[in-house]
């Protein structure tokens, strides 16, 4: 599904990602772990199409098609979703209105009519329920004044609404207490199927107890220095990253 080959990327000429290779097939969950500053968020931003970053070398394809020339919204229309490590506050736009706009933009790109208001509301209600989201957040300005945990839950709510093919969860666990973590992980698991895939980026293996990865990759200094099965996460938890360097 997603194929990254020899990806070198960075900012203002400075290389942050230094030759990433990653192959993700439908139905899989990949965890990417690694110390602070190793390039995890950069990698997710680059996959999502953040134009702040320059691509120096390499390719990213989705279902065999190059996506590097696509804008972030075009990538979203093709099914890529990024749950932000630091979700952005959008004052003046309610969560409901934001997600409506996003869904209808995607439908428009697919040549579909706007989703009827009734169906939209029903879907919003269902997904909010799935994530045990307090409904009052739906009518508040997106992320404005939300706690860290509320923001993360809202990210997964949006993911549930958009039903992406490839979801990248960048440190979705940070800011969540254990109960919220379980709810969010449960939401993510419910959305999984044989046709979609998930990249879970995390510091800690805690989240991986709930979203069980098929593969674990260790990112260090812009390179994947080790890949393995889910037991690698336990090993990292016990030994830290230093033994790998």
């Amino acid at each position: 599904m997603l194929s990254i080959k020899n990806l070198h990327a960075g900012i203002e000429g400075k290389e942050i990602l230094r030759g990433i290779n990653l192959e993700i097939r439908p139905g899989e969950v990949h965890a990417i772990m690694g110390p602070n500053g190793s390039g995890k968020s950069t990698l997710s931003s680059v996959i999502a199409g953040n134009e702040t970053y320059e691509i120096f070398e390499g390719e990213i394809t989705l279902d065999g098609k190059n996506i590097l020339d696509l804008s972030p919204d075009e990538r979203a229309h093709k099914g890529i979703f990024l749950s932000f490590q630091y979700p952005i506050e959008i004052p003046g736009v309610t969560t409901t209105n934001f997600i409506k706009t996003a869904i209808n933009a995607k439908r428009k790109a697919q040549g579909l009519e706007d989703l009827p208001a009734k169906d939209m509301l029903k879907m919003i209600r269902e997904k909010a329920e799935l994530l045990k989201m307090d409904r009052k957040f739906l009518s508040r300005s997106l992320n404005e004044g939300f706690s860290g945990g509320e923001k993360k839950r809202n990210e997964i709510f949006q993911m549930a609404m958009l039903e992406p093919k490839l979801a990248i969860l960048d440190e979705t666990d940070s800011g969540l207490d254990i109960d919220a973590l379980k709810v969010v992980a449960n939401g993510v698991n419910k959305l999984r199927n044989k046709d979609n895939a998930t990249i879970v980026i995390t510091h800690y293996q805690r989240l991986l107890d709930y979203i069980i990865p098929d593969y674990v990759h260790v990112l260090h200094n812009g390179k994947i220095i080790k890949s393995g099965g889910k037991e690698l996460a336990h090993e990292l938890e016990a030994k830290g990253y230093d033994w790998l360097k």
Binding site: A48, T52, D73, A76, F81, F84, I88, I90, A105
Partner: protein
């Protein structure tokens, strides 16, 4: 000939053109006014109040103040500029001349008619003597110029205890069948005790020729009157306006002026408010969304002279390309105006690399027991927010529009006429070049 000299010469001709109230007191006011204009001349950038707005680019044309009267504007040409979907009173002028055929006036629950009639009819003499040109600034040469050439505009006189359900639309069209035309419309609005009125004003050029409008509106809000005034300025790039609004408020009255500026070459809004009593509320709001080389200057002065009054100002601006803006908000709180609440906020987003804004709050506070605040922000479109929205599938143009719309929404929400509100939503979508419904 310089424009000033031409105008001075034109004044004689204006007075001699006949059909004008030469024997009234207004005649004397006009004479004084033209003398004042002659003395002061057009303001230059040396004048502190005009430091960031130069009139030179619009004063270099050979404007005529005598429009030809043979325009043939039809309802279908202008329908889109007024709120035709609701019931309203309508006062329509074309090239400065009243069009009874396009208008819908009344003398029943109130006088909603025209100034030229009020100046001539004896039954209005007392009102004219009492109100006309009583609160305009005599230090402002452009207001004086308007007074000198004042003969037509809206005359709205609402008796006490009258709630006018229908909004009043005051519409000024120019066809510029002359090559370059200067208009000096003059509005007089008197709102009696406990009365309510909603007024929508718009100036619109329909043609390719250059138009300069120098408009003066005097508004008198009596005790507990409520005046909601809306100005939509979305003119063509060959039209400029200098708009002066003078408001006198009596005890317990509420006056709100909402200015929406989306177009025009140069737009200067002067709003001067005088409080004459306690428990008065003044609300001045505005949104500016301009582009290209357009220039908008909002100058407000609120004179707090009595205790327990409040004023709220909220002006937002979005400037693209090399558009430029000025916000100058002066609040004067007299020594005896204790317990005044005066708030002022001016927020701006510069979208274009060459866009600029000069913002200057001026608080002159001489009382000690007051709550006054002012704030000013200048920002850019947040790139991270745009990426965030794009990552959810919202294309960049729509993402920007949504952000900008959200930025201005607080002001749009102050519009109390639903038809006008959705009109403004549409104008903003048009302005931001997106096809989306903003109604949240």
């Amino acid at each position: 000939m310089e424009l000033k000299d031409k105008l001075l010469a034109s004044f004689m001709a204006f007075e001699n053109k006949g059909n004008i109230d030469l024997d009234s007191d207004v005649h004397d006011l006009r004479i004084k006014a033209i003398e004042n204009f002659e003395k002061l001349g057009f303001p230059t950038k040396k004048n502190e109040e005009w430091k960031y707005t130069s009139l030179n680019p619009i004063l270099k044309y050979d404007y005529s103040v005598f429009p030809s009267l043979d325009n043939n504007v039809e309802l279908k040409d202008i329908k889109k500029y007024f709120l035709h979907e609701i019931e309203s009173y309508r006062i329509v002028f074309v090239d400065g001349v009243y069009s009874s055929f396009l208008s819908d006036t009344t003398h029943e629950e109130a006088d909603v008619c025209i100034l030229s009639a009020a100046l001539k009819k004896p039954k209005y003499k007392m009102i004219i003597d009492h109100y006309f040109d009583k609160i305009t600034s005599k230090n402002d040469s452009l207001s004086s110029l308007n007074t000198a050439f004042s003969k037509e505009g809206a005359f709205i006189n609402i008796p006490k205890n009258t709630i006018l359900e229908k909004p009043i639309q005051v519409l000024f069209f120019s066809t510029g069948s002359e090559k370059e035309l200067m208009l000096n419309p003059r509005n007089l609005i008197i709102v009696g005790e406990n009365s309510h009125v909603q007024i929508y004003e718009r100036h619109q050029n329909l043609n390719k020729n250059k138009i300069l409008t120098n408009c003066v509106t005097e508004i008198f809000a009596h005790k507990r009157a409520i005046v909601n005034y809306y100005k939509v300025q979305n003119d063509k790039n060959n039209a400029s306006i200098i708009d002066h609004t003078y408001i006198q408020q009596k005890e317990g009255s509420i006056a709100s002026v909402n200015t929406f500026t989306f177009g025009g070459k140069l737009t200067r809004n002067n709003i001067n408010v005088y409080h004459e009593g306690e428990h008065i509320t003044t609300n001045l709001n505005g949104i500016t969304i301009i582009e290209g080389k357009q220039h908008v200057d909002n100058h407000t002065i609120i004179n707090h002279k009595h205790e327990n009054c409040e004023s709220h100002e909220l002006y937002k601006g979005i400037y693209d390309d090399s558009a430029s803006g000025v916000f100058n908000g002066k609040v004067i709180v007299d020594k005896k105006a204790q317990k005044t609440n005066a708030f002022q906020q001016n927020d701006n987003i510069l979208v274009g690399d060459k866009a600029s804004i000069n913002a200057k709050p001026q608080l002159e506070i001489f009382a000690d027991d007051v709550k006054c605040s002012h704030g000013c922000t200048i920002g850019q479109i947040d790139k991270n927010a745009i990426f965030y929205m794009q990552s959810r599938g919202i294309p960049i143009k729509e993402a920007k529009a949504l952000l900008l719309f959200a930025f201005g929404n607080e002001v749009i929400n102050k519009v109390k006429i639903p038809a006008l509100k959705s009109r403004i939503f549409k104008l903003i979508a048009e302005k931001l070049k997106v096809d989306m419904g903003f109604e949240i």
